[in-house]
Symmetry: C2
Subunit: 189 residues, 2 copies
Amino acid sequence: MATTDKASTRDRLLDAAAELFYREGVSIGVEALCRTAGVSKRSMYQLFASKDEVLAASLERRLPAYEARLASGAQDAGTPRERILHVFERLEKASTEPAYQGCPYLAALVELKDPQHPASVVARVAKERLQGVFRERAAEGGARDPQLLARQLMLVFDGASARAGAGIETLDGLAVPTATALLDAAGMS
Amino acid sequence: MATTDKASTRDRLLDAAAELFYREGVSIGVEALCRTAGVSKRSMYQLFASKDEVLAASLERRLPAYEARLASGAQDAGTPRERILHVFERLEKASTEPAYQGCPYLAALVELKDPQHPASVVARVAKERLQGVFRERAAEGGARDPQLLARQLMLVFDGASARAGAGIETLDGLAVPTATALLDAAGMS
DNA sequence: GCGGGAGGAAACCGATCGGTATATCGCCTT
DNA sequence: AAGGCGATATACCGATCGGTTTCCTCCCGC
């Protein structure tokens, strides 16, 4: 069935796109992208209207895996406080990988300064979802102002991922204590 | 005197470069850069070896003004705590400007993923200097671990500037309370 | 076996990339 | 007034940009 071939071509393209955009930045060319994906430009432009749409789709495709990685194991176990701190533990751990370049969604927003860009829209959704998770846990844990705490945690999360990705910080023993201080200040269990 | 002309050409070029790189990103072309600066490519390549050097020099040139902006007024007045919080007040204020795109040094590090890039070196210096200021104030204020507190404050600073620059956060009433919580947790006066 | 559609390779499009070379102009010095 | 230097404008270089098109091959159902 033709659908199978088409889907696998699409998958190969989006996987290569996600990796290349992350490693080299959004300015990577269509030529290089298709070459490493093993997909012809013709096929790419049959599946997507433009390079921008490929970038947006590759970010969207990675979102479930990205969120699962931050949750990992213990999805529903532990107190709300533990579940929040777990995210920062995962961040600290991810940042030790040699290829770590920071959160790909924040990087996309910074590199594409245009908020209208289709990839920027996807990136904003990713960021809002994480903030929403923080807010829910904060509310469950009895934080004084769950929304404020969630915003504060996002500052730490994005600052940490950006600095680690830029190679100017090693989060070892930094992200978790910082988040802890904010949880305490918010009066969370 | 010829020196004057040369300096003004250089200044015009670096000023335009700083503004364009900040607004459009590091991928702005040499052609467009020289056009808006009113400088010929020939002159540019006599003053600098490459576009990369122009970028690095433009970041370096803006550093004193950038630091002065974060300090503003009250350079030596106030308690160490007040002086730290003052930086976050300035950040909150700067982020309200419509053209705000976040800290240009962090943006450069994120966009140029190469840590060897001459502009990345300058950007790292800028970040280290701010962290050094935080550390000194933290020590003066009797923080338990001045270096740890300085790193935590940098997380908040960079997270806040990146998110505000990306247009996904308005720092209003966020950056200062977050920094305050960390100062309190560090046991600082 | 044969027709047809999908997909790949590659040429091609105009534009722009970073960088260089040429030729001329204007100003300062002597 | 003459010379020289700094600056400009402009054309040019090969490469690459995002995107389109042509051609050809391979594989599928009939």
